[in-house]
Amino acid sequence: LKQAGKGFFNRQLAGLVRLAGIFMVRARGTGPKKRTAAGVNAPMQTLLGRMALVLLLPYQALILLGGGVVRWWERATYLLGVVAAVLTLAVMPSSWPRTVRNVFARQMLFTGVDSMFFTMRISIAVGVMVIVQAQLLLSTIAQSDLLGTVLMRVIVRELAPLLANFVVIVRSATAMGTEMANMRREGEVDVLDAQGLDPMIYLVMPRMLATALTVFCLAVVIVAVSFFSGFLMSSLLGAASGGAERFVNNVVNSAQFRDLYFFFPKTLVTGLFIGAISCVEGLSVRGAATEIPQVAGRSAVASLTVVSAVTASLSLIIYGTILSIEVF
Protein backbone atom coordinates (compact mmCIF):
# COMPACT_ATOMS: atom_id res chain seq x y z
CA LEU A 1 0.00 0.00 0.00
CA LYS A 2 2.85 2.32 0.93
CA GLN A 3 4.61 1.61 -2.37
CA ALA A 4 1.41 1.99 -4.37
CA GLY A 5 0.67 5.27 -2.61
CA LYS A 6 4.17 6.52 -3.28
CA GLY A 7 3.90 5.52 -6.93
CA PHE A 8 0.60 7.32 -7.32
CA PHE A 9 1.95 10.40 -5.56
CA ASN A 10 5.09 10.42 -7.69
CA ARG A 11 3.13 10.05 -10.96
CA GLN A 12 0.83 12.93 -10.04
CA LEU A 13 3.78 15.04 -8.98
CA ALA A 14 5.72 14.25 -12.15
CA GLY A 15 2.70 15.17 -14.27
CA LEU A 16 2.23 18.46 -12.48
CA VAL A 17 5.89 19.39 -12.61
CA ARG A 18 5.98 18.59 -16.32
CA LEU A 19 2.90 20.70 -16.94
CA ALA A 20 4.38 23.54 -14.94
CA GLY A 21 7.64 23.23 -16.86
CA ILE A 22 5.87 23.48 -20.20
CA PHE A 23 3.93 26.53 -19.09
CA MET A 24 7.02 28.16 -17.59
CA VAL A 25 8.92 27.67 -20.82
CA ARG A 26 6.02 29.25 -22.68
CA ALA A 27 5.90 32.07 -20.13
CA ARG A 28 9.55 32.88 -20.75
CA GLY A 29 8.93 32.68 -24.47
CA THR A 30 11.92 30.38 -25.06
CA GLY A 31 10.04 27.21 -25.90
CA PRO A 32 10.35 25.67 -29.33
CA LYS A 33 7.68 26.80 -31.74
CA LYS A 34 6.59 23.28 -32.61
CA ARG A 35 5.40 22.71 -29.04
CA THR A 36 3.00 25.60 -29.23
CA ALA A 37 -0.46 24.22 -28.73
CA ALA A 38 -2.64 24.82 -31.73
CA GLY A 39 -5.45 27.27 -31.20
CA VAL A 40 -3.93 29.04 -28.15
CA ASN A 41 -2.36 32.38 -28.87
CA ALA A 42 0.99 33.49 -27.40
CA PRO A 43 -0.22 36.09 -24.84
CA MET A 44 -2.73 33.58 -23.54
CA GLN A 45 0.03 30.97 -23.12
CA THR A 46 2.21 33.47 -21.26
CA LEU A 47 -0.66 34.30 -18.94
CA LEU A 48 -1.39 30.60 -18.33
CA GLY A 49 2.28 29.97 -17.67
CA ARG A 50 2.53 32.74 -15.10
CA MET A 51 -0.65 31.59 -13.44
CA ALA A 52 0.69 28.03 -13.25
CA LEU A 53 3.93 29.31 -11.77
CA VAL A 54 2.12 31.28 -9.08
CA LEU A 55 -0.31 28.48 -8.35
CA LEU A 56 2.39 25.83 -8.12
CA LEU A 57 4.73 27.73 -5.81
CA PRO A 58 2.82 26.90 -2.63
CA TYR A 59 2.41 23.37 -3.94
CA GLN A 60 6.18 23.05 -4.40
CA ALA A 61 6.74 24.46 -0.91
CA LEU A 62 4.28 21.90 0.43
CA ILE A 63 6.12 19.12 -1.39
CA LEU A 64 9.42 20.20 0.15
CA LEU A 65 7.89 20.35 3.61
CA GLY A 66 5.97 17.13 3.05
CA GLY A 67 9.09 15.36 1.80
CA GLY A 68 10.88 16.23 5.03
CA VAL A 69 7.96 15.06 7.13
CA VAL A 70 7.66 11.82 5.14
CA ARG A 71 11.40 11.14 5.54
CA TRP A 72 11.18 11.84 9.27
CA TRP A 73 8.13 9.61 9.59
CA GLU A 74 9.81 6.77 7.68
CA ARG A 75 12.90 7.04 9.88
CA ALA A 76 10.83 7.08 13.08
CA THR A 77 8.79 4.04 12.03
CA TYR A 78 11.97 2.23 11.00
CA LEU A 79 13.50 2.87 14.43
CA LEU A 80 10.30 1.71 16.12
CA GLY A 81 10.43 -1.39 13.95
CA VAL A 82 14.00 -2.12 15.05
CA VAL A 83 13.06 -1.66 18.71
CA ALA A 84 10.01 -3.94 18.32
CA ALA A 85 12.09 -6.58 16.51
CA VAL A 86 14.77 -6.52 19.20
CA LEU A 87 12.22 -6.84 22.01
CA THR A 88 10.58 -9.76 20.20
CA LEU A 89 13.94 -11.47 19.69
CA ALA A 90 15.02 -10.79 23.26
CA VAL A 91 12.23 -12.88 24.79
CA MET A 92 13.20 -15.95 22.73
CA PRO A 93 15.73 -18.14 24.58
CA SER A 94 17.13 -19.28 21.21
CA SER A 95 18.33 -15.70 20.62
CA TRP A 96 20.72 -15.98 23.54
CA PRO A 97 23.55 -18.36 22.68
CA ARG A 98 26.78 -17.83 24.61
CA THR A 99 28.26 -15.64 21.87
CA VAL A 100 25.40 -13.17 22.21
CA ARG A 101 25.61 -13.29 25.99
CA ASN A 102 29.31 -12.43 25.69
CA VAL A 103 28.57 -9.41 23.49
CA PHE A 104 25.92 -8.28 25.97
CA ALA A 105 28.34 -8.61 28.90
CA ARG A 106 31.11 -6.75 27.05
CA GLN A 107 28.72 -3.96 26.13
CA MET A 108 27.55 -3.66 29.73
CA LEU A 109 31.17 -3.46 30.81
CA PHE A 110 32.05 -0.80 28.26
CA THR A 111 28.89 1.29 28.48
CA GLY A 112 28.10 0.83 32.15
CA VAL A 113 31.05 -0.12 34.32
CA ASP A 114 33.63 1.96 32.44
CA SER A 115 31.50 5.09 32.67
CA MET A 116 30.71 4.67 36.37
CA PHE A 117 33.36 7.08 37.70
CA PHE A 118 32.52 9.72 35.11
CA THR A 119 28.85 9.43 36.10
CA MET A 120 29.71 9.68 39.80
CA ARG A 121 31.69 12.88 39.24
CA ILE A 122 28.73 14.45 37.47
CA SER A 123 26.35 13.19 40.16
CA ILE A 124 28.41 14.85 42.89
CA ALA A 125 28.13 18.17 41.05
CA VAL A 126 24.39 17.69 40.57
CA GLY A 127 23.90 16.82 44.23
CA VAL A 128 25.83 19.84 45.39
CA MET A 129 23.97 22.20 43.06
CA VAL A 130 20.42 20.94 43.44
CA ILE A 131 20.32 19.81 47.06
CA VAL A 132 22.20 22.75 48.53
CA GLN A 133 20.04 25.20 46.57
CA ALA A 134 16.86 23.37 47.61
CA GLN A 135 17.96 23.24 51.26
CA LEU A 136 18.77 26.94 51.29
CA LEU A 137 15.53 27.93 49.59
CA LEU A 138 13.27 25.70 51.65
CA SER A 139 14.87 26.65 54.97
CA THR A 140 14.40 30.32 54.05
CA ILE A 141 10.66 29.78 53.69
CA ALA A 142 10.57 27.36 56.63
CA GLN A 143 9.52 24.42 54.49
CA SER A 144 12.46 22.06 55.05
CA ASP A 145 10.10 19.11 55.23
CA LEU A 146 9.40 19.52 51.53
CA LEU A 147 13.00 18.73 50.66
CA GLY A 148 12.34 15.06 50.01
CA THR A 149 9.44 15.85 47.70
CA VAL A 150 11.46 18.40 45.77
CA LEU A 151 14.37 15.99 45.36
CA MET A 152 12.17 13.13 44.24
CA ARG A 153 10.48 15.35 41.67
CA VAL A 154 13.58 17.07 40.36
CA ILE A 155 16.29 14.43 40.56
CA VAL A 156 14.49 11.10 40.41
CA ARG A 157 11.80 12.01 37.92
CA GLU A 158 13.69 14.31 35.56
CA LEU A 159 17.36 15.00 36.11
CA ALA A 160 18.80 11.56 36.79
CA PRO A 161 17.25 9.85 33.74
CA LEU A 162 18.24 12.77 31.49
CA LEU A 163 21.83 12.85 32.76
CA ALA A 164 22.20 9.08 32.49
CA ASN A 165 21.04 9.29 28.88
CA PHE A 166 23.51 12.08 28.15
CA VAL A 167 26.40 10.15 29.69
CA VAL A 168 25.60 7.09 27.58
CA ILE A 169 25.26 9.17 24.42
CA VAL A 170 28.57 10.93 24.98
CA ARG A 171 30.51 7.80 25.95
CA SER A 172 28.85 5.01 24.00
CA ALA A 173 26.45 6.09 21.26
CA THR A 174 29.21 7.63 19.17
CA ALA A 175 31.56 4.72 19.86
CA MET A 176 28.91 2.16 18.98
CA GLY A 177 27.98 3.98 15.78
CA THR A 178 31.63 4.15 14.72
CA GLU A 179 32.23 0.51 15.59
CA MET A 180 29.23 -0.63 13.56
CA ALA A 181 30.23 1.59 10.64
CA ASN A 182 33.77 0.18 10.66
CA MET A 183 32.48 -3.38 10.82
CA ARG A 184 30.16 -2.70 7.93
CA ARG A 185 32.84 -1.03 5.85
CA GLU A 186 35.46 -3.72 6.49
CA GLY A 187 33.04 -6.50 5.54
CA GLU A 188 32.94 -7.94 9.07
CA VAL A 189 29.14 -7.93 9.07
CA ASP A 190 29.23 -10.11 5.93
CA VAL A 191 31.70 -12.45 7.63
CA LEU A 192 29.32 -12.85 10.57
CA ASP A 193 26.38 -13.41 8.23
CA ALA A 194 28.34 -16.03 6.29
CA GLN A 195 28.97 -17.94 9.51
CA GLY A 196 25.28 -17.95 10.33
CA LEU A 197 25.45 -15.21 12.96
CA ASP A 198 22.48 -12.98 12.26
CA PRO A 199 23.75 -9.38 12.68
CA MET A 200 20.43 -8.41 14.25
CA ILE A 201 20.89 -11.04 16.98
CA TYR A 202 24.66 -10.89 17.38
CA LEU A 203 25.34 -7.18 16.90
CA VAL A 204 22.19 -5.12 17.40
CA MET A 205 20.13 -6.88 20.06
CA PRO A 206 22.76 -7.20 22.83
CA ARG A 207 23.99 -3.65 22.28
CA MET A 208 20.52 -2.15 22.46
CA LEU A 209 19.53 -4.10 25.57
CA ALA A 210 22.85 -3.39 27.28
CA THR A 211 22.46 0.32 26.53
CA ALA A 212 18.93 0.37 27.97
CA LEU A 213 19.98 -1.48 31.11
CA THR A 214 23.04 0.73 31.50
CA VAL A 215 21.01 3.94 31.31
CA PHE A 216 18.74 2.58 34.03
CA CYS A 217 21.64 1.55 36.27
CA LEU A 218 23.50 4.83 35.78
CA ALA A 219 20.34 6.77 36.66
CA VAL A 220 20.15 4.81 39.93
CA VAL A 221 23.81 5.65 40.59
CA ILE A 222 23.15 9.34 39.84
CA VAL A 223 20.25 9.41 42.31
CA ALA A 224 22.24 7.70 45.07
CA VAL A 225 25.45 9.70 44.63
CA SER A 226 23.75 13.07 44.18
CA PHE A 227 21.60 12.56 47.30
CA PHE A 228 24.63 11.55 49.34
CA SER A 229 26.92 14.30 48.05
CA GLY A 230 24.19 16.92 48.34
CA PHE A 231 23.43 16.03 51.93
CA LEU A 232 27.12 15.92 52.79
CA MET A 233 27.77 19.31 51.25
CA SER A 234 24.71 20.96 52.85
CA SER A 235 25.78 19.54 56.23
CA LEU A 236 29.26 20.92 55.79
CA LEU A 237 27.86 24.33 54.84
CA GLY A 238 25.39 24.19 57.70
CA ALA A 239 22.39 24.39 55.38
CA ALA A 240 20.95 21.03 56.42
CA SER A 241 18.43 21.26 59.19
CA GLY A 242 18.25 18.09 61.24
CA GLY A 243 20.62 15.19 60.82
CA ALA A 244 21.14 12.42 58.34
CA GLU A 245 18.24 10.51 59.82
CA ARG A 246 15.83 13.35 59.13
CA PHE A 247 17.14 13.70 55.58
CA VAL A 248 16.72 9.98 54.88
CA ASN A 249 13.25 9.93 56.43
CA ASN A 250 12.29 12.97 54.42
CA VAL A 251 13.38 11.37 51.17
CA VAL A 252 11.95 7.93 51.93
CA ASN A 253 8.59 9.33 53.06
CA SER A 254 8.22 11.40 49.94
CA ALA A 255 9.03 8.48 47.63
CA GLN A 256 5.95 7.19 45.85
CA PHE A 257 5.26 4.25 43.64
CA ARG A 258 4.33 6.60 40.81
CA ASP A 259 7.94 7.85 40.68
CA LEU A 260 8.69 4.56 38.95
CA TYR A 261 6.28 5.58 36.16
CA PHE A 262 8.81 8.25 35.30
CA PHE A 263 12.01 6.44 36.12
CA PHE A 264 11.59 3.20 34.17
CA PRO A 265 10.38 4.53 30.82
CA LYS A 266 12.73 7.50 30.85
CA THR A 267 15.72 5.23 31.24
CA LEU A 268 14.84 1.92 29.60
CA VAL A 269 12.89 3.26 26.60
CA THR A 270 15.34 6.02 25.78
CA GLY A 271 18.26 3.62 26.26
CA LEU A 272 16.72 1.28 23.70
CA PHE A 273 16.40 4.15 21.25
CA ILE A 274 20.01 5.26 21.79
CA GLY A 275 21.19 1.74 21.01
CA ALA A 276 18.90 1.45 18.00
CA ILE A 277 20.00 4.78 16.54
CA SER A 278 23.71 4.02 16.94
CA CYS A 279 23.41 0.58 15.38
CA VAL A 280 21.15 1.71 12.53
CA GLU A 281 23.35 4.71 11.71
CA GLY A 282 26.50 2.60 11.84
CA LEU A 283 25.15 -0.22 9.72
CA SER A 284 23.80 2.20 7.11
CA VAL A 285 27.35 3.04 5.95
CA ARG A 286 27.89 2.02 2.35
CA GLY A 287 31.65 2.06 1.99
CA ALA A 288 33.26 5.51 2.04
CA ALA A 289 35.72 6.04 4.91
CA THR A 290 34.56 9.64 5.20
CA GLU A 291 31.14 8.41 6.28
CA ILE A 292 32.47 6.99 9.55
CA PRO A 293 33.12 10.25 11.45
CA GLN A 294 29.79 11.50 10.14
CA VAL A 295 28.11 8.46 11.66
CA ALA A 296 29.49 9.34 15.10
CA GLY A 297 28.07 12.85 14.85
CA ARG A 298 24.75 11.70 13.45
CA SER A 299 24.37 9.04 16.17
CA ALA A 300 24.94 11.59 18.92
CA VAL A 301 22.66 14.26 17.45
CA ALA A 302 19.87 11.84 16.62
CA SER A 303 20.13 10.21 20.06
CA LEU A 304 19.98 13.58 21.83
CA THR A 305 16.95 14.57 19.75
CA VAL A 306 15.16 11.31 20.43
CA VAL A 307 16.01 11.34 24.15
CA SER A 308 14.68 14.91 24.47
CA ALA A 309 11.56 14.08 22.50
CA VAL A 310 10.86 10.80 24.31
CA THR A 311 11.55 12.32 27.75
CA ALA A 312 9.31 15.30 27.08
CA SER A 313 6.57 13.12 25.57
CA LEU A 314 6.69 10.69 28.48
CA SER A 315 6.49 13.56 30.96
CA LEU A 316 3.48 14.97 29.15
CA ILE A 317 1.78 11.59 28.90
CA ILE A 318 2.45 10.64 32.51
CA TYR A 319 1.62 14.08 33.95
CA GLY A 320 -1.50 14.13 31.80
CA THR A 321 -2.57 10.71 33.05
CA ILE A 322 -1.91 11.63 36.66
CA LEU A 323 -3.61 15.01 36.31
CA SER A 324 -6.66 13.40 34.81
CA ILE A 325 -6.89 11.06 37.81
CA GLU A 326 -6.31 13.57 40.57
CA VAL A 327 -5.02 17.07 41.10
CA PHE A 328 -1.26 16.74 41.05
Binding site: R98, Q195, L197
Partner: protein
Protein backbone atom coordinates in the same frame (compact mmCIF):
# COMPACT_ATOMS: atom_id res chain seq x y z
CA UNK B 1 36.46 -35.27 18.22
CA UNK B 2 35.98 -34.76 14.52
CA UNK B 3 32.65 -36.16 13.44
CA UNK B 4 31.12 -35.01 10.18
CA UNK B 5 27.36 -35.40 10.17
CA UNK B 6 26.63 -37.03 6.83
CA UNK B 7 23.84 -35.46 4.85
CA UNK B 8 20.78 -37.59 4.01
CA UNK B 9 20.54 -35.82 0.66
CA UNK B 10 22.32 -37.20 -2.42
CA UNK B 11 23.87 -33.78 -2.97
CA UNK B 12 25.18 -31.33 -0.42
CA UNK B 13 25.18 -28.41 -2.82
CA UNK B 14 23.20 -27.90 -6.01
CA UNK B 15 23.34 -24.99 -8.46
CA UNK B 16 20.50 -25.29 -10.95
CA UNK B 17 20.58 -22.83 -13.86
CA UNK B 18 21.88 -20.09 -11.60
CA UNK B 19 22.61 -16.67 -13.03
CA UNK B 20 23.97 -13.75 -11.07
CA UNK B 21 22.30 -10.41 -11.61
CA UNK B 22 24.52 -7.97 -13.52
CA UNK B 23 23.53 -5.31 -10.98
CA UNK B 24 25.62 -7.08 -8.31
CA UNK B 25 29.02 -5.62 -9.13
CA UNK B 26 30.96 -6.93 -6.14
CA UNK B 27 31.47 -10.29 -7.82
CA UNK B 28 32.62 -11.51 -11.23
CA UNK B 29 29.62 -11.88 -13.52
CA UNK B 30 28.69 -15.53 -14.11
CA UNK B 31 25.52 -16.07 -16.14
CA UNK B 32 25.26 -19.83 -16.09
CA UNK B 33 26.08 -22.06 -13.14
CA UNK B 34 24.91 -25.66 -13.17
CA UNK B 35 26.58 -28.21 -10.93
CA UNK B 36 26.10 -30.55 -8.01
CA UNK B 37 28.44 -31.62 -5.24
CA UNK B 38 27.82 -34.89 -3.41
CA UNK B 39 29.06 -35.73 0.09
CA UNK B 40 32.77 -36.52 0.01
CA UNK B 41 33.26 -34.85 -3.38
CA UNK B 42 35.76 -32.13 -4.24
CA UNK B 43 34.82 -29.54 -6.82
CA UNK B 44 37.67 -27.46 -8.18
CA UNK B 45 36.68 -24.16 -9.80
CA UNK B 46 39.19 -22.06 -11.70
CA UNK B 47 38.44 -18.38 -11.86
CA UNK B 48 40.22 -15.53 -13.61
CA UNK B 49 43.34 -14.21 -11.96
CA UNK B 50 43.15 -10.61 -10.75
CA UNK B 51 39.45 -10.25 -11.55
CA UNK B 52 36.58 -9.62 -9.22
CA UNK B 53 35.91 -12.34 -6.60
CA UNK B 54 33.96 -15.41 -7.61
CA UNK B 55 30.27 -15.37 -6.60
CA UNK B 56 30.15 -19.14 -6.04
CA UNK B 57 30.82 -19.11 -2.28
CA UNK B 58 28.34 -16.33 -1.37
CA UNK B 59 25.75 -17.95 -3.65
CA UNK B 60 26.38 -21.34 -2.07
CA UNK B 61 25.66 -19.76 1.32
CA UNK B 62 22.52 -17.99 0.12
CA UNK B 63 24.05 -14.57 0.77
CA UNK B 64 23.47 -13.20 -2.73
CA UNK B 65 20.15 -13.12 -4.57
CA UNK B 66 20.10 -14.91 -7.88
CA UNK B 67 18.65 -13.49 -11.07
CA UNK B 68 17.29 -16.91 -12.02
CA UNK B 69 17.79 -20.52 -11.01
CA UNK B 70 18.02 -22.05 -7.59
CA UNK B 71 20.78 -22.89 -5.11
CA UNK B 72 20.12 -25.77 -2.71
CA UNK B 73 22.12 -26.72 0.35
CA UNK B 74 21.33 -30.19 1.71
CA UNK B 75 18.31 -30.34 -0.57
CA UNK B 76 16.71 -27.08 0.64
CA UNK B 77 16.72 -23.93 -1.50
CA UNK B 78 18.06 -20.83 0.21
CA UNK B 79 14.90 -18.89 -0.59
CA UNK B 80 12.83 -21.42 1.39
CA UNK B 81 12.35 -21.00 5.13
CA UNK B 82 13.06 -17.95 7.24
CA UNK B 83 16.24 -16.10 8.04
CA UNK B 84 16.74 -18.00 11.30
CA UNK B 85 16.70 -21.36 9.58
CA UNK B 86 19.07 -20.01 6.92
CA UNK B 87 21.45 -18.77 9.62
CA UNK B 88 21.38 -22.17 11.34
CA UNK B 89 22.14 -23.93 8.01
CA UNK B 90 25.04 -21.56 7.36
CA UNK B 91 26.48 -22.81 10.63
CA UNK B 92 27.06 -26.16 8.86
CA UNK B 93 29.21 -24.56 6.17
CA UNK B 94 32.90 -23.82 6.67
CA UNK B 95 34.52 -21.18 4.51
CA UNK B 96 37.93 -19.73 3.79
CA UNK B 97 37.10 -16.18 2.77
CA UNK B 98 38.80 -14.52 -0.15
CA UNK B 99 39.37 -11.30 1.75
CA UNK B 100 38.70 -9.47 5.04
CA UNK B 101 37.72 -12.59 6.94
CA UNK B 102 38.09 -11.51 10.58
CA UNK B 103 36.02 -9.69 13.17
CA UNK B 104 38.57 -7.16 14.40
CA UNK B 105 37.34 -6.81 17.98
CA UNK B 106 37.79 -10.54 18.66
CA UNK B 107 41.12 -12.33 18.82
CA UNK B 108 41.95 -15.02 16.26
CA UNK B 109 41.02 -17.87 18.58
CA UNK B 110 37.65 -16.26 19.37
CA UNK B 111 37.10 -15.73 15.65
CA UNK B 112 37.93 -19.33 14.87
CA UNK B 113 35.59 -20.69 17.56
CA UNK B 114 32.81 -18.15 16.97
CA UNK B 115 30.56 -20.21 14.71
CA UNK B 116 30.85 -23.35 16.85
CA UNK B 117 30.19 -21.40 20.03
CA UNK B 118 27.16 -19.78 18.43
CA UNK B 119 25.56 -22.80 16.79
CA UNK B 120 26.46 -25.66 19.09
CA UNK B 121 26.39 -26.43 22.79
CA UNK B 122 29.84 -28.02 22.74
CA UNK B 123 31.97 -27.00 25.74
CA UNK B 124 34.44 -24.22 24.98
CA UNK B 125 37.38 -26.40 26.01
CA UNK B 126 36.42 -29.06 23.51
CA UNK B 127 36.18 -26.51 20.70
CA UNK B 128 39.56 -25.01 21.59
CA UNK B 129 41.18 -28.45 21.77
CA UNK B 130 39.81 -29.39 18.36
CA UNK B 131 40.93 -26.06 16.89
CA UNK B 132 44.44 -26.46 18.31
CA UNK B 133 44.64 -30.03 17.01
CA UNK B 134 43.63 -28.82 13.53
CA UNK B 135 46.13 -25.98 13.80
CA UNK B 136 48.94 -28.47 14.45
CA UNK B 137 47.88 -30.38 11.32
CA UNK B 138 48.40 -27.25 9.20
CA UNK B 139 51.77 -26.42 10.75
CA UNK B 140 50.78 -24.01 13.50
CA UNK B 141 51.70 -24.71 17.14
CA UNK B 142 48.14 -23.69 18.09
CA UNK B 143 45.50 -21.18 17.04
CA UNK B 144 46.94 -17.67 17.62
CA UNK B 145 45.53 -15.78 20.59
CA UNK B 146 46.33 -12.27 19.31
CA UNK B 147 44.10 -9.83 17.48
CA UNK B 148 44.02 -10.42 13.70
CA UNK B 149 45.74 -7.08 13.07
CA UNK B 150 48.86 -8.30 14.90
CA UNK B 151 49.15 -11.78 13.40
CA UNK B 152 51.20 -12.40 10.20
CA UNK B 153 49.22 -12.97 7.00
CA UNK B 154 50.28 -16.59 6.34
CA UNK B 155 49.45 -17.60 9.94
CA UNK B 156 46.07 -15.89 9.65
CA UNK B 157 45.34 -17.69 6.41
CA UNK B 158 46.11 -21.07 7.98
CA UNK B 159 43.95 -20.09 10.95
CA UNK B 160 41.19 -19.58 8.36
CA UNK B 161 41.69 -23.20 7.25
CA UNK B 162 41.22 -24.26 10.86
CA UNK B 163 38.04 -22.23 11.16
CA UNK B 164 36.65 -23.65 7.90
CA UNK B 165 37.11 -27.28 8.98
CA UNK B 166 36.31 -26.84 12.68
CA UNK B 167 33.30 -28.82 13.90
CA UNK B 168 33.10 -31.06 10.83
CA UNK B 169 31.00 -28.98 8.45
CA UNK B 170 28.87 -30.61 5.76
CA UNK B 171 30.26 -28.26 3.12
CA UNK B 172 33.60 -26.45 3.00
CA UNK B 173 34.10 -23.50 0.65
CA UNK B 174 37.74 -22.67 0.02
CA UNK B 175 38.18 -19.36 -1.75
CA UNK B 176 41.83 -19.11 -2.85
CA UNK B 177 43.00 -20.83 0.35
CA UNK B 178 46.69 -20.66 -0.63
CA UNK B 179 46.66 -16.86 -0.83
CA UNK B 180 49.62 -15.54 1.22
CA UNK B 181 50.66 -19.09 2.16
CA UNK B 182 53.81 -20.78 0.91
CA UNK B 183 53.24 -23.84 -1.31
CA UNK B 184 55.15 -25.93 1.23
CA UNK B 185 51.96 -25.93 3.32
CA UNK B 186 49.79 -27.20 0.45
CA UNK B 187 50.24 -30.90 1.35
CA UNK B 188 49.00 -30.12 4.87
CA UNK B 189 45.84 -28.52 3.50
CA UNK B 190 45.34 -31.37 1.04
CA UNK B 191 45.61 -33.87 3.89
CA UNK B 192 42.96 -32.04 5.91
CA UNK B 193 40.72 -31.84 2.84
CA UNK B 194 41.19 -35.55 2.21
CA UNK B 195 40.37 -36.46 5.81
CA UNK B 196 37.18 -34.42 5.75
CA UNK B 197 36.13 -35.78 2.35
CA UNK B 198 36.49 -39.31 3.69
CA UNK B 199 34.20 -38.38 6.53
CA UNK B 200 31.55 -37.08 4.13
CA UNK B 201 32.18 -33.35 3.75
CA UNK B 202 31.76 -31.82 0.31
CA UNK B 203 34.51 -29.37 -0.63
CA UNK B 204 34.41 -26.56 -3.19
CA UNK B 205 37.87 -25.16 -3.91
CA UNK B 206 38.02 -21.92 -5.89
CA UNK B 207 41.44 -21.07 -7.28
CA UNK B 208 43.13 -18.83 -9.80
CA UNK B 209 46.47 -20.59 -9.36
CA UNK B 210 47.53 -22.90 -12.24
CA UNK B 211 49.79 -24.89 -9.89
CA UNK B 212 46.81 -25.95 -7.82
CA UNK B 213 44.54 -26.38 -10.85
CA UNK B 214 46.95 -28.81 -12.49
CA UNK B 215 47.75 -30.75 -9.36
CA UNK B 216 46.72 -34.37 -8.93
CA UNK B 217 44.15 -34.84 -6.17
CA UNK B 218 43.22 -38.05 -4.48
CA UNK B 219 40.33 -38.87 -4.90
CA UNK B 220 39.92 -37.03 -8.22
CA UNK B 221 37.89 -33.86 -8.14
CA UNK B 222 35.27 -32.47 -10.52
CA UNK B 223 36.65 -29.47 -12.36
CA UNK B 224 34.84 -26.37 -13.59
CA UNK B 225 36.31 -23.34 -15.29
CA UNK B 226 34.82 -19.89 -15.79
CA UNK B 227 34.66 -19.34 -19.56
CA UNK B 228 32.62 -16.60 -21.27
CA UNK B 229 30.81 -15.90 -18.00
CA UNK B 230 29.77 -19.57 -17.74
CA UNK B 231 30.97 -22.36 -15.50
CA UNK B 232 32.07 -25.10 -17.89
CA UNK B 233 32.99 -28.64 -16.93
CA UNK B 234 36.56 -29.74 -17.72
CA UNK B 235 37.62 -33.36 -18.13
CA UNK B 236 40.93 -34.56 -16.72
CA UNK B 237 43.53 -32.83 -14.60
CA UNK B 238 45.65 -30.85 -17.04
CA UNK B 239 43.09 -28.40 -18.37
Amino acid sequence: LLVVKKSDQPYVLEFEGVALSHTIQRYALVREMDFRVAPGELLLIRCERGGRPSPVAPLAQGLVDVLRGVVRFEGVAWNQGGSRSAAARRGRIGRVFDRLPWVSNLNVQENVALSQRHHTARPDRQIVEEADALARKVGLPRVPRGRPAFVPGDVLQRAQWVRAFLGGPALVLLERPMREVSLEHLPQLLEVVKTHRRRGAAVVWITDDPTIWQREFDPLPKRLIVKDARLTAVEGAAA
